[in-house]
């Protein structure tokens, strides 16, 4: 085969590749547009769902977060509102890792009447020296008109080398 023939063959191969690439690209552009469309649709549906199921006036959202997490490995969180258990969430290793890295998990959403409500959170996991650990934290919130965000924060109390569980309110 001479050089011209090789070059011609190469040109044909390039043209075939280019045509295949164009076809892929055309499809890919459509997929990109659909991804955007579905993401926007999901955003609207997410907001609708939240407004419908948890109207702003009565909405209370419970978040779980971790600061450092040296003294506690989270397994599960359960939440009681006015003595009634409303949530019991078991964390996967992947989720617990996301919490340690700074993620905040919305563990429960509820509708509450205005006024005072007693909240109890029970955390289970592994404490210092990898021992089974179970601790509760209690607070009373005053639910007014408007959404309320309550954070259940797990922090490290370095001086005592123990984890600490605290509530924090966001308006």
């Amino acid at each position: 085969m001479d050089a011209d023939a090789v070059a011609a063959e190469a040109r044909e191969a390039v043209a075939a590749e280019a045509s295949s690439r164009d076809e892929f690209r055309s499809l890919d552009t459509d997929v990109q547009a659909l991804k955007k469309e579905v993401l926007d649709l999901n955003r609207d549906l997410f907001l609708l769902e939240e407004e419908l199921l948890f109207p702003a006036n009565s909405q209370v959202a419970f978040f779980v977060s971790m600061d450092v997490g040296e003294y506690f490995e989270l397994d599960s969180v359960s939440i009681k509102i006015d003595g009634k258990e409303v949530a019991n969430y078991l964390y996967t290793a992947r989720e617990a890792d996301a919490l340690v890295r700074g993620g905040v998990h919305r563990v429960h959403m509820a509708n509450l009447k205005t006024g005072e409500h007693e909240i109890i959170a029970i955390f289970t996991g592994k404490g210092p020296h990898v021992r089974d650990y179970r601790r509760g934290a209690t607070t009373v919130i005053d639910k007014g008109i408007g959404a309320k965000y309550l954070e259940l924060e797990i922090t490290d109390r370095v001086r005592k080398q123990q984890p600490e569980f605290v509530f924090k309110e966001w308006e």
């Binding site: 090789v6 390039v14 659909l34 649709l41 907001l47 996301a98 905040v104 922090t155």
Partner: protein, 622 residues
């Protein structure tokens, strides 16, 4: 709030974002304070590489202006997540907007590099080239090398071999990348017909002493490319050496063995040619080199006058090709039925969509062995990712479709309940005359003002005290007490004493009683204000609720057709994507089948020729 061991600044964030998950973990470590819980929630999904829900939450929080403390980070995070999710066009739009002045030049250049890489893989060569052109400074050394290679590869793919050669010619150093560059130049030169120039470069590579597995593989590739380039150029003798340098155990050994045989055959050394070809007999028939060797062996035998053996080998080859063709037919039918890709999606969990997704295990079944070759192609891999992503979108929309139906029911039920309760609430509101209560309260206030200003301690006496005071006053008015006798004076003294004690007590408690009543009145006032506020709220709700219902109904009923419309487009894209993948897969299998058909024809012709020769020889003998 939630604190975290995550990312300190936008810079680190972006670096993490642009790194595959496995490496991202190493790039984290500095604490960042999450100031909006919704931002933390986005991170919760992001760190799990669950990009779709993370993006949705971020878009929703942005829409509700809940990320006021993380505006810039949120935007960059969104760009990074779009990129990770394979939504590269949208990611680029964000980066084009933000990268100009919001991040350091290093991060900016790095981002363009990663975008260029992704665009190249997806076949957007122009965009990839443009992204590389945006890089202004020096990238870190390893990326700089990769960027240069990428630029050259884009030119090679576009058929601009001379430009690619020029770009890579000044490559310095003895790194792995330098070797890859040389190889690419060699391939570019071969493709442009400049075999002698290519030979020099490829020979140098083919003779190197590799220090990594990758370089060993590259050395094999270079030797193979050189050997076949020389064979095509009619330099059979020269071709043998590089082909013999290819490892016997590597992925290129079959083709090299075949080539060595052809080099010998070209030089009429058929007995020598049989040595490497016979070595290929036990290997996988899927390999085109093995298929070709099944014809090459009897061809050489015939040349060596071993006619009977040659005939046997041709017959074996025809039989083997027939069986393989049947297998290929079955696989083509299975793929064309569309079932194959459906099964692939069903077996895949679809729970972590993203750019870095790779097929970890080949699907089971007879097709798997053929797909191995297909998966090496960018467009097939990327097409498979798109197919998978579209399947995820389809499933997502199916779920929403069901949910929206439930929401519509829920809304109707709520509306009905509201309409039933409304008359009861209206009656209760009419009954509760708050205006009159307020009047009472104001009148009590005025009375208290009078009592306090006139220091009317008797007005605040308790019932028993008042009764006692009344009794004493009545006693005082007894006519007998008016008599001028000592007993009357004595009783009068006692009455005066009683009155004095009673008054003393009442005056002593007066201030406390005033305070107590004032406090009660104040609380009553507050309760009345609260009741008025609640009433206003109820009235406002009664006014607004129908509007809220109407707005919600519009949204719920408006979203259902939107979901339906999008789902139809997703299904259409899915079927086009499936057709595209089928076309590639079937095209590849059909090419294999065509080759086998051609080989079968060649084998039959050769066999017929052998029978002719044998027949002629028989006649001659007779």
């Amino acid at each position: 709030m939630a604190p975290g061991r995550s990312i300190l600044s936008r810079l680190c964030l972006l670096l993490v974002l642009l790194t595959p998950a496995a490496h991202a973990a190493d790039a984290t470590g500095d604490p960042m304070v999450v100031k909006d819980p919704q931002f933390g929630e986005v991170l919760f999904y992001f760190y799990q590489e669950d990009y779709f829900p993370a993006i949705v939450r971020l878009l929703a929080a942005k829409e509700q202006e809940q990320l006021t403390e993380h505006v810039e980070e949120a935007e960059l995070l969104l760009g990074g997540m779009y990129l990770s999710y394979g939504h590269h066009l949208e990611a680029a739009e964000i980066f084009e907007r933000l990268l100009a002045d919001k991040v350091s030049p290093e991060v900016r250049d790095r981002t363009w590099f990663f975008l260029a890489k992704i665009w190249y893989q997806r076949g957007y060569l122009d965009k990839a080239q443009q992204a590389l052109a945006y890089i202004e400074g020096e990238l870190p050394e390893h990326l700089q090398r990769e960027a240069l290679m990428l630029g050259a590869q884009i030119l090679i793919d576009a058929g601009q071999y001379d430009a690619a050669v020029t770009r890579l010619q000044n490559w310095k150093g003895r790194t792995e990348w330098a070797s890859y560059a040389k190889f690419n130049i060699g391939v570019a030169l071969v493709r442009s017909g400049r075999v002698d120039e290519a030979a020099e470069l490829l020979d140098e590579l083919g003779d190197m002493n590799p220090f990594t597995d990758e370089l060993t593989a590259l050395r094999d590739k270079a030797n193979l490319a050189l050997g076949y380039a020389l064979l095509q150029d009619g330099q059979a003798y020269a071709a043998k050496e590089p082909l013999q340098r290819v490892r016997l155990e590597g992925p290129f050994s079959s083709k090299a063995l075949l080539g060595v045989g052809w080099a010998d055959a070209e030089m009429n050394n058929f007995d020598r040619a049989l040595v490497p070809w016979m070595e290929l007999r036990g290997r996988d028939l899927l390999d085109p080199a093995v298929q070709e060797s099944m014809l090459a062996i009897p061809y050489a035998m015939a040349k060596l006058d071993s006619i009977s053996q040659a005939a046997d080998h041709y017959l074996n080859a025809i039989e083997a090709f027939y069986e393989e063709t049947n297998r290929l037919d079955r696989t083509i039918n299975h793929i064309e039925s569309g079932e194959f890709f459906e099964e692939f999606v069903e077996n895949d969990p679809l729970d972590s969509t993203g750019w870095y997704w790779e097929l970890e295990e080949l699907p089971t079944g007879p097709e798997a062995r053929y797909l191995y070759h297909l998966l090496a192609k960018h467009e097939f891999q990327e097409g498979l990712k798109n197919f998978r992503d579209l399947s995820y979108l389809n499933r997502n929309l199916e779920n929403w479709q069901q949910n929206v139906d439930v929401y519509a029911n829920m809304l109707e039920t709520r509306k009905e309940a509201y309409e039933q309760r409304l008359p009861v609430v209206e009656t209760a509101l009419e009954r509760a005359d708050l205006g009159r209560m307020v009047e009472f309260k104001l009148s009590y206030d005025a009375t208290m003002d009078n009592i306090e200003s006139s220091h009317n301690w008797l007005a605040l006496a308790e019932r028993s005290e008042f009764d006692m005071w009344k009794e004493v006053a009545e006693l005082e008015r007894t006519p007998a007490l008016q008599a001028d006798i000592p007993e009357a004076a004595e009783v009068q003294d006692k009455i005066d004493l009683l009155k004095g004690v009673l008054q003393w007590d009442l005056e002593r408690d007066f201030s406390e009683r005033v305070r107590f009543i004032r406090r009660n009145l104040h609380q009553t006032g507050e309760a009345l204000v609260g009741a008025q506020r609640a009433r206003r709220h109820v009235e406002e709700s009664m006014r607004n609720e129908p509007l809220v219902f109407a707005e919600m109904s519009d949204r719920v009923y408006g979203l259902a057709p939107r979901i339906e419309g999008t789902q139809m487009r997703v299904e259409d894209a899915l079927s086009r994507q499936r057709a595209y993948l089928q076309e590639i897969a079937v095209g590849e299998l059909q090419a294999q089948k065509d080759r086998l058909d051609l080989y079968t024809i060649q084998a039959r012709f050769a066999l017929a020729a052998i029978y002719d020769i044998a027949a002629s020889a028989g006649e001659d003998f007779e």
